[in-house]
């Protein structure tokens, strides 16, 4: 009983921080960031205690913490309840842990911004919503968090309300996610219809007994997957994520690393017992994941905005995670989620540190040579780059190779695509790092780069430690064999595995490679990384020529440089026609037709009135005459017809 109280507490602390900053932020202007950060760290602390009290390695059963009953309509019953198990605690720690570091960093980054209280209020609210998403005991509370992070992303991306591109980007993120959410809502409704409950434990229990569940399950899985695609920015819903860079850099880090984009993966992991039963949907998830990973990596190669490169890299890494999820290797996907949270937060905060020191310069072509002026940022950033590229012995090496290994089981083609993507990742990440930190300085003459304050560098150092060492939670047998994470997650996925074994259509058999094969695959991906680095080093790094503008590329290069014209495609196929139709309705139907009718009706009564009011002379005699005339007419009518 004692520690269960911690769960509502850890959820409510960020909300309290948000309300405090929203209501009284203007009175403690300077310390708004400290308040927000304290509440965030307090939430993290509560999370750590709950984690330790739960004993995740021994405890098999999820713990339900019922906060209060919420909806009760007939048989439909929803409580605001939290499910505490290995998965939700894992996510909670990542979200509050990395989120808190980003809060701390924001104190330095947002210093002097007049909207700092508003910023921290939103940031705390984001944590509040995200914690509901991952701790939810049922689909409705999850959906509350799901929409909550959508709202907060809208508020945060459009934080600089006076910037038009920020406002547009926030609207784009919101609308793209709403489109995907339609599928999500359909999935929730279908699940309720099939199983008669929205609670995760009940769904898991009752699923095999549900009527028509064999026929309906693929549809349910597809619905949830489309919802996940929206949040996790999979092709073709990825368009919002790069544009979301218009928000302040800590926001990008938060959305990209710890929250929002991981929601889709979390959903699939949470509903793993649905997804393991439909391998055909799993196949499509792998396809889309592989494609997204490759596709986004090629775009990343051609970007010149430091944050845009990282944004496409996020899309690409999420593609990897979806490959793992589709292949049924949930632990591998969550492992990469964890390591990615560390190194992507590190990279974003590092780029923020650069942007900060160069006074809001984001163009790689106007950086260079920052190595000597920003030592901490340079070393941590380099470490992040090595980790994301998958260089041993850093975290990305273990998590990415695990996914590639699982993809190999699924089909060697996916493995090959993954290796090519790893090659591209190394290429663009070193391009980014080396362009920004080495070579001749191309910084504008009036800007003097300097290292950021400790509130910004401390999170960088902590995240760098995480990026370096978090990989040791799951090490393949050939390299020592640590399976802490595997054992940790085993209870969460046991039920799904049981169902799939019973139904004999499993693709999630727990096969392991022989150590020699494992090593061979690892060497292959390592080769790709070395090749990526080598090609960049030999052919591009030595040239002092600056990368061209995106529009300068011609021929086939124009495709990735212009993001494969996906935005233009959406613009022409959906937005354009919709705008024309709306314009037709507003200009022709409303202004010409409807207004004509309404204004015409007004004109007619006005015209009639202008004739009739001539009768109103105001002269007594005229009225008397009319009365007499009327009386005579009525009387004659009566006389003529006979009374």
């Amino acid at each position: 009983m004692s520690w269960e109280i911690l769960i509502p507490l850890l959820v409510l602390l960020p909300l309290a921080g948000s309300i405090l900053n929203a209501a009284f932020g203007r009175y403690f202007r300077g310390s708004a960031g400290i308040v927000g950060t304290l509440f965030s760290f307090a939430s993290f602390g509560a999370g750590v205690i709950a984690f330790l009290q739960y004993h995740p390695l021994e405890n098999q059963q999820p713990q339900i913490v019922n906060f209060f009953p919420w909806l009760e309509v007939g048989a439909f019953k929803v409580d605001v309840a939290y499910q505490v198990d290995q998965l939700s605690l894992f996510m909670t720690l990542i979200i509050t842990g990395i989120g808190s570091l980003i809060h701390l960093y924001s104190i330095g980054y947002m210093k002097g911004n007049p909207g700092i209280a508003r910023f921290f209020s939103y940031l705390n609210l984001f944590l509040f919503a995200m914690l509901h998403l991952v701790l939810a005991e049922n689909l409705v509370v999850l959906f509350f968090g799901w929409e909550g992070v959508g709202l907060c992303s809208y508020l945060l991306i459009g934080f600089d309300t006076h910037k038009e591109n920020a406002a547009n980007a926030s609207i784009k993120a919101f609308i793209t996610n709403r489109i995907a959410d339609l599928a999500m809502i359909a999935g929730i409704a279908l699940t309720y219809w099939l199983v008669g409950s929205v609670s995760f434990t009940k769904i898991a229990e009752n699923l095999p007994q549900a009527k028509f569940f064999q026929q309906a399950l693929p549809i349910v899985a597809i619905c949830f997957f489309v919802g996940a695609m929206g949040k996790s920015a999979q092709f073709p819903f990825h368009v919002w994520l790069p544009d979301a860079m218009a928000g302040p850099t800590p926001v990008s880090a938060l959305i990209h690393a710890a929250t929002m984009v991981t929601a889709g993966l979390f959903l699939i992991a949470r509903l793993n017992y649905i997804f393991v039963l439909v391998p055909q949907v799993g196949f499509w998830i792998v396809c889309i994941g592989t494609f997204t990973a490759f596709f986004a990596a090629t775009i990343g190669v051609y970007q010149n905005d430091i944050k845009k490169v990282l944004a496409y890299s996020t899309v690409s890494q999420l593609g990897y995670m979806f490959v793992a999820m589709g292949a049924g290797a949930y632990v591998a996907g969550l492992f990469h989620l964890l390591t990615h949270a560390f190194f992507k937060a590190l990279l974003f905060l590092g780029s923020g540190s650069v942007i900060h020191s160069l006074h809001d310069e984001q163009d790689l072509r106007r950086m260079g040579g920052l190595k000597s002026q920003m030592k901490i940022t340079w070393w941590t950033f380099l470490l992040g780059t090595l980790a994301i590229a998958g260089a041993p012995p850093f975290s990305g090496f273990f998590s990415k190779d695990l996914i590639l290994e699982k993809a190999y089981f699924f089909h060697p083609v996916f493995f090959a695509m993954g290796v090519v993507t790893a090659f591209l990742t190394t290429f663009y990440m070193f391009r980014l790092t080396l362009l920004a930190f080495t070579g001749k300085s191309k910084v504008a003459a009036n800007v003097h780069p300097h290292e950021s304050p400790w509130t910004m560098t401390l999170p960088l150092v902590i995240l760098a430690l995480g990026a370096a060492f978090s990989g040791y939670l799951l090490v393949p047998e050939s390299l020592g064999g640590v399976d802490v994470l595997e054992r940790y997650f085993a209870p969460v996925f046991a039920q799904g595995l049981g169902y799939s074994a019973k139904l004999k259509n499993s693709h999630v058999a727990l096969h392991h490679l022989a150590p020699s094969e494992e090593l061979l695959l690892a060497l292959l991906s390592l080769g790709a990384i070395l090749l990526g680095f080598g090609i960049y080093w030999i052919f591009f790094a030595k040239k002092e020529k600056l990368p061209s503008d995106e529009s300068a590329y011609t021929g086939w290069r124009a495709l990735p440089a212009n993001k494969y014209y996906v935005d233009e495609f959406f613009q022409n196929v959906f937005v354009g026609p919709l705008t024309s139709v709306s314009e037709f309705f507003s200009e022709v139907v409303e202004k010409r037709w409807i207004d004509t009718v309404l204004v015409g009706a007004g004109r007619i009564s006005e015209g009639v009135a202008s004739v009739l009011r001539r009768i109103q002379t105001g002269t007594v005699v005229d009225y008397a005459f009319l009365i007499v005339l009327g009386t005579v007419l009525i009387l004659s009518a009566f006389l003529w017809r006979g009374i």
């Binding site: 105001g618 002269t619 007594v620 008397a624």
Partner: protein, 111 residues
């Protein structure tokens, strides 16, 4: 008494004659209201119309041998007196303000 049966003569004068007389008086009144401009004369013409109506009431009352008609006449007289008092007061008030009692010139309420 035998209500409903019309006596054709009243004091030796046929009822029709009396009704025709009332009609003539009423028409004179109407014509006066419509064609004269002085508010005072219009009031006098209204009195003519009211009295012609009174005459009709009395004639029918006698002819039908019922008393209700004559009772109504008293009411009409009372109302006519009250109306004349108020109406003349208004005319005097307007005359003070506009220095006229011609009704065509009292058209302030026009559109």
């Amino acid at each position: 008494m035998n209500p409903g049966v019309l006596k054709p003569m009243i004091a030796g004068i046929p009822v029709e004659y009396l009704l025709i007389l009332a009609c003539i008086v009423f028409s004179i009144g109407v014509a006066g209201v419509l064609f004269r401009r002085s508010a005072v004369i219009i009031f006098m013409c209204i009195e003519l119309m009211l009295n012609s109506v009174n005459l009709v009431f009395v004639v029918f009352s006698k002819s039908l041998q019922q008393v209700q008609g004559e009772v109504v006449v008293f009411f009409v007289m009372a109302i006519a007196a009250a109306e004349a008092a108020i109406g003349l007061a208004l005319v005097v008030a307007i005359h003070r303000k506009k220095k006229t009692s011609f009704v065509d010139e009292m058209n302030l309420m026009k559109w």
